[in-house]
Each structure stands twice: as C-alpha cells, then as structure tokens.
C-alpha cells in the first residue's frame, strides 16, 4: 500500500517533483509558495539534483530554460507577481519548444495585492500571459493529493508536447496540510535529440525562438498550433459530481471547487438537483463537455476567486444554451459553502 503522509500542498508538490525526476529547480522567494522553495533547497541537493536560488524570477525562469535546453527536467515556482515577471521566459520556452514546469501558487492582486489565496491569474495562465501566439497546459489541483499527483503529470505533459506546463494553484492549497498517498518515484525517459548536449557525434543543435525569416516563423507558428489542437483533442480532464440528473450545474476549479463540493452535498440533502463540473485542465478547456451539459441544465453557476475571468470560457462553451451566473469573491477571499448554497436556494425560489 502506498505510504500515507501529512504534508502541506507546497511540499507535497515539491516531493512529487523530486519523485517525478525533476533534475533542476530554480526559484526566488515569494509568499505563499516559500515552503516549496525551501523544500527543494533541502531535498534536491541530497538527491543529487540542482537547486539554485536565483537573483530574480526572470533569472529563475531563464535558468529553467537553460537546464531544459540541456535536456533536463526543470521546474520553477512562484506566486502571482513573480509569475508576471516570468512571462517573457514562458513565452520564450513556448517559442523554443522547451519542456518546463511552472508552479503558480496564486495570491491576491493586482500589483502586489496580498498573500491570501486567489484565482485572479486565470487569464494570464490560460490565454498566454506572455507575448505571441502560444498556449501552455494549465493543471488545477483542488487537494494536497492532486498537488502531488498532477506534478507527475505536469512533467510528463511538458516532455510529451515540448512546452511549458503550469500548475495553477493558490495560497490555500499551498499552505494547507492534508493526508495523501505518496506516489512512487519514476525514472523519466532521456531521449531528447533536440537538446544541447555537445555536437560530438551529430550536427550542432540550436535552441531558439527567433526566426527573422517570416516564412520560417509562420511555419513554427503553424506547427505550434497543430500541437495545441492535438493537446485540445487528447488532454482535457475533468471531475464531475452528480451531473447525470442536475438542473443546476456548478463549474469551478481549485479552492473554489472544494467549496462547491460542500455546497453540492448540502444542496442535494435539501433536495436541490445540483451537479459539479471541475476542470483539472484549465487549458485545454473542457468546452465540449460544458456545451453538452449546458444543453441539459437550467442554470450554470460559475464559482471563482476572480472578477469574472473563468466564467468567460464557460460562457463561450455554453453557447447561450442556458443562463450562466457568476458567484465569486475577490481580493483573497475563498467563496464560502453557505454563499454558494444561498445562491442555489435563491434560484429555485424564482
């Protein structure tokens, strides 16, 4: 039986990275993800891995870029303001088609905001964030177990599709402790013929995102877009609860989804036909499934810790087949179970 341990989300994620074969971690302190950086500082070197505290988030993401170019599994983590600083590097990783795992333990914004949990970096994470036409796979855990499990998936997806993968979580999931089952360590494949490993017995490899010839850059973009379509067709992941017979569909991810799960149970106990769809992948987005459910349900309630960001993708997917309502908190508050329940009860009174 797998070993059951008690750790917080940040360290559970760090332990997963080590077990997933992360060779190099580069980071810069920022709350509320500091436990992760400290964990990597403590446990990477004794495991023969690389840890460097960089001089900035810019430097950290570019160290990731270098290590990844050299063919190694590399990761960085930060929180919202620091993730903004990394955007140049994430765009460059996407353009150069380098795998990397980036963890965003979100906090309140804009600007320096605060250190409380938030989901206000949704657009930045799923719509590109940096410059240029690129996408990154975005994974959204809602428990410490998933902070651990999805980290393994993040490294595999990054390697499989040669691009940046973001784990989009928040201060609550990073800070909270929960028992979870440790996954066994894996040995990732090392077949990366594109990596710069020295041109001893082959032609030189070149890692770049600059293509001054427009035909070449268009070709790169077409290749990237084809890859993104493939990801959209293969990698969508959701959790559904009681969606078979629901009239009211809650759609939420991460900490918001946890609150929804509580509200769902309470609402069902009171006889309301409520269901929940929780995307584990925010990009690719589960548009097809939401479209399907939108045709059946009376109302969709989108619960988010942002000012109507996540709801835009739900609305696009729902295609005006049903009403889509927003239930949200801002500035570092997590939606409360009772507020979601109240919203459900209010609907049924109409």
């Amino acid at each position: 039986m797998a070993e059951r341990v008690l750790m917080n989300g940040n360290t559970a994620l760090g332990e997963a990275a080590i077990r997933a074969g992360c060779d190099c971690y580069f980071g810069y302190p920022i709350t509320p993800q500091n436990e992760l950086t400290s964990y990597m500082a403590t446990y990477m070197p004794p495991n023969g891995r690389v840890f460097v505290q960089a001089e900035s988030e810019l430097a950290a993401i570019n160290m990731v870029y270098g290590a990844s170019a050299a063919g190694k599994r590399a990761m960085t983590s930060s929180s919202s303001p620091g993730i903004s600083l990394k955007q140049e590097g994430i765009s460059t990783l996407a353009g150069a088609e380098l795998p990397a795992v980036i963890v965003n333990v979100q906090r309140g914004g804009p600007g320096l905001g605060n250190i409380a949990p938030a989901q206000a970096d949704y657009f930045q994470a799923v719509k590109g964030g940096g410059h240029g036409d690129y996408r990154q796979i975005v994974l959204a855990p809602d428990s410490v177990q998933e902070m651990h499990d999805l980290t393994f998936d993040a490294f595999d997806l990054a390697d499989a599709y040669r691009g940046p993968v973001m784990i989009l979580t928040d201060g609550r999931l990073g800070q909270m402790m929960e028992p979870f089952e440790l996954r066994p360590a894996v040995t990732p494949g090392t077949d990366k013929p594109w990596a710069v490993t020295g041109a001893a017995e082959r032609d030189p490899n070149l890692v770049r995102s600059l293509y001054l010839v427009v035909e070449e850059l268009e070709q790169l973009n077409l290749r990237l877009q084809a890859k993104y379509r493939e990801i959209e067709s293969r990698e969508v992941r959701v959790e559904e609860r009681m969606t078979d017979d629901c009239d009211i569909l809650l759609v939420a991810y991460g900490s918001s989804a946890r609150a929804c799960k509580g509200a769902l149970n309470e609402a069902r106990a009171k006889g309301y036909k409520v269901g929940l769809l929780r995307p584990l992948t925010l990009w690719p987005f589960p548009s097809a499934r939401i479209r399907e459910l939108a045709a059946k349900v009376k109302t969709i309630i989108v619960v988010e810790m942002s000012a109507g960001q996540f709801i835009e993708d739900v609305q696009l997917a729902a295609e005006f087949q049903t009403e889509v309502l927003l239930e949200n908190r801002l500035g570092g508050f997590v939606p409360e179970q009772r507020d979601i329940l109240k919203r459900v009860e209010g609907l049924s009174k109409c």
Partner: protein
C-alpha cells in the same frame, strides 16, 4: 583560391558568410572563440549562449551547440545549462546592452556565484541591432540616435565599466579587458579568449573577457577610424588590462 592549412578557417566556425557590417568586431570575436574551441578540442562538448543584439545570429556561424537567450538573460541561461550539465563547456556571448543594461543583475549574480562559465562581452559603446541607440557603455559626448546631442552624464550617467565593477566581487577567477584595435590588440584578445576557455576546461571558475570592439556603422566612422576610436577613445575610458588572474585581484 586554394586555402593553405595555415589559413583554413576553424572547424568550430560554419562556412556561412556573416551578416555583419564591414569593419565590425563580431566576426573577429567569433573567430577567436572558434579558434580556442578547436585548439582545446572541445567542439563536441562546448555549448554557447547567444544574446539579443547584432550577434543574435552568432549561432549560424558557430559550428557547435548553441542556445539563444532572451535579452539580458544570457548568464542565467548559461547558469541553467552548466548546472544541468557540469561536464559541458559553457560560454555566454553578450553585447553591451545585453550584459550591462537589461541583464546587469544576471551578469553580477552569475559572477558573484562564481558560475563555471566564460563570458565574452563585446563592448562597442552602442546598440547595433536596433539601430545605433545609446548603450550603457556609450562614451561621454558620443552621439547616438537616443543621445542626439551626445551623451550627457548629468542626465544619462557616464559609461559603466563592467570589468572594474565585477572585480569587486570575490568569486570571479579571471577578468581581462582587451581591444580589437589592430593586429596587436587581436593577438591579446585571442590569448584572453583562449585563457577563459581553458579555465573552463580546467574547471577553474567564472571568467570574464571584455572585448572593446569597432562598430563603424553606429560609431559613425570608417572601418579604419573605428579601430582608432576603439584604440584611443574607448581605451582611455576602458583601460585594457588583466583585472583578475587565478582568482586574485591584479593591481593596475
């Protein structure tokens, strides 16, 4: 023309003609690096990092693995490569905007950590790729497209001296400034580049070679006069000498 063995270009250079302007120092600097790579027999394990600037296309001319870095991030990328693959020989090739303006933090911290990389800093006192704007190393009074009346130190600060600045740190192993200002200057530059690369092969530590370099186009001079600008004007502000040797500060 038949090439004699003596004049054969280094194996570490490709045969592609460069895009550099007549009289530019980049081609010479590339060749010096390629010669060191050949001489040390490390073409199969050297990894270069190319900056943003005129030399962003350096990888088309270098016949070994190269990673292009975002503007100023070259030392961080080089750090990532070297930490991930310590058995490789890693160097950063950077211009003055890349190294001493947008990437100053990365430059200083890579040096302060004593990363085992060689940094080749091409200082031509002007931004070339973007069209002749003021560089952090532009000379006082020098006219550029963003200092049309000449660099005014009161509002723009004086040119920054990177060798002197880095020499205040504990960890660099070797720091030298050389100048491409004529045959003798190139010979000294060749030796400095070779030393920095040899130190990498020997695992000595962080090496920094600043190469004062002509840019006739944006120094607004003929190729010959640009060599004079480097040899006289620039050297009067940026003295060429060894600043650090075997990890020890060398007095002027």
């Amino acid at each position: 023309m038949t090439l004699t063995p003596h004049s054969r270009p280094p194996e570490a250079l490709t045969e592609k003609p460069t895009h550099y302007c007549p009289g530019c120092g980049h081609g010479i600097a590339h060749k010096l690096i390629a010669e060191a790579v050949d001489k040390l027999d490390i073409r199969g394990r050297v990894i270069g990092t190319a900056p943003v600037g005129c030399s962003v296309l350096a990888y088309f001319y270098m016949n070994f693995d190269v990673v292009e870095a975002a503007h100023g991030r070259t030392p961080a990328v080089a750090t990532g490569i070297k930490r991930a693959a310590p058995d490789k020989i890693v160097f950063a090739y950077q211009g003055d905007g890349d190294l001493a303006a947008i990437g100053t933090a990365e430059t200083i911290h890579a040096a302060n950590r004593g990363e085992h990389i060689a940094v080749f800093f091409i200082n031509n006192a002007v931004y070339g790729m973007t069209g002749g704007q003021m560089a952090p190393t532009t000379m006082e009074g020098q006219r550029t497209s963003t200092s049309p009346d000449g660099r005014d130190v009161e509002t723009m600060g004086p040119p920054i001296r990177m060798c002197e600045l880095l020499n205040t740190l504990d960890r660099p192993y070797y720091i030298e400034r050389v100048a491409i200002d004529g045959a003798a200057g190139v010979r000294k530059a060749r030796k400095a580049v070779h030393t920095a690369m040899q130190c990498q092969v020997e695992g000595k530590g962080y090496c920094f070679v600043e190469i004062l370099s002509p840019c006739p186009t944006y120094q607004r001079l003929s190729p010959v006069d640009a060599l004079g600008f480097v040899g006289e004007n620039m050297k009067s502000v940026f003295p060429t000498r060894v600043f650090r040797k075997n990890g020890e500060v060398v007095d002027a």
